[in-house]
Amino acid sequence: MANLKNLSKKSKSQSMGMHTEVLKGRTQQRFFDSEESENFYYFGNYDVDFNKRIELDVKNMEAPQANKKIDELMSQGYGTIVIKNPQGKHSLGVGILNKLNLIFEGSLGYFGVGSCDGPNVRITGRVGWSCAQNLMAGKVVVEKNAGSSFGAAIRGGDLICKGSVGARTGIDMKGGTIIVGGDAGAFTGFMMQRGRIIVLGDVGINLGDSMYDGTIFIGGKIGSFGSDAIEAELTSIDKEWLKRKLKVAEIGENFDVNKIKKIVAGKKLWNYDNLEPTEKKGAI
């Protein structure tokens, strides 16, 4: 059912020419000066101060109400927000496109801190399915275990779970780094297209199934490889990067990186539709 509010929004974008503009076959030209004033946050976002700290008890709040309150506090310049009593609520701390120190004292439910771009988040408890899905930038640290689809479709940033994670970790990821201190379930790195996954423990079956690109590093045992996932040589650059990244992740600083196995895409599935039937057989 259409309502007046929706109609007014449509007319605003239409009046800006966004519905009549022909985009097909043309290059949009936007000129900006690469030496224009230094600005480190998106235009129209809040310049917050990490030293300005506040606590927010969300015990009696619904998730949308709590998320709106976080936005309000950022608009007042608070750069460190401590969330008390999250009590496993779903969709908490989503859509934050700002620099921020966000601390959850407790556990989160499904889709926690989804679609974020920039914040440093620490969750002292556990998280449910699809934590930090579509993360664009920032750092998310989960102190305990995480559910399935951890870091689904992330595009950037560091996502760290100090405990173990469920199945399909990093499914469809297009960038960024996922670091797991414990074990990971089946189909880790399923259909990943770019980015890096580090698992210090064991992984389940079908590791890196149908991966297009990207790199997976495994410290423990591998249940089985998925289609088109192959082992590659661990280079000195990889080892150096792993040491540095594990330090950032606050886990496995003393882990012997020489034991880590590197898994990449065999790239036999690239342009699969164009392969001959015999080639298709060999690719899967």
Binding site: S34, F40, F43, G175, W270, N274, E279
Partner: protein, 133 residues
């Protein structure tokens, strides 16, 4: 000469799907795949003062999302891909690019941050049009 020809044929057989890719590229007139190493890890010795400041401002320990940013090519011109605008940002001609890919990547990262934070970024218009009040 004849020997060289046979060698080429052998290579095509080994690289699965390579000949098909070329045929498809000819058909659509575009290159498929990357022209640069998307998995190249950054060399932190090459970090620029601007990027150092940006990382410090955001409270990160390293380049974070910028580790995935590389200098690529669009219509044979050096360019960096902006995921927010879903398009390539071509590098101004006045910027002289070094030969080393690591140095080029750092320039690409710096330019991309400046573009994304600029009031002239396409997202600013989209935000005006669609942001919930």
């Amino acid at each position: 000469m004849a020997k060289k020809k046979t060698k080429k044929i052998k290579e095509k057989k080994v690289k699965l799907g390579k000949s098909k890719e070329t045929a498809r590229e000819k058909m659509i007139g575009q290159h498929i795949g990357y022209r640069y190493d998307v998995n190249l890890l950054p060399d932190y010795k090459k970090i620029t003062p601007f990027l150092k400041k940006y990382v410090e401002y955001m409270g990160w320990d390293d380049l974070n999302w910028l580790e995935d940013v590389h200098m690529g090519y669009e219509e044979n011109r050096p360019a960096v891909f902006c995921r927010n605008a879903n398009g390539w940002v071509t590098i101004p001609k006045k910027i002289k690019l070094p030969e080393n890919q690591q140095d080029r990547d750092m320039i690409a990262r710096e330019l991309l941050v400046k573009f994304q934070m600029s009031p002239r970024h396409p997202l600013v218009d989209l935000k005006k049009a669609y942001k919930k009040s």
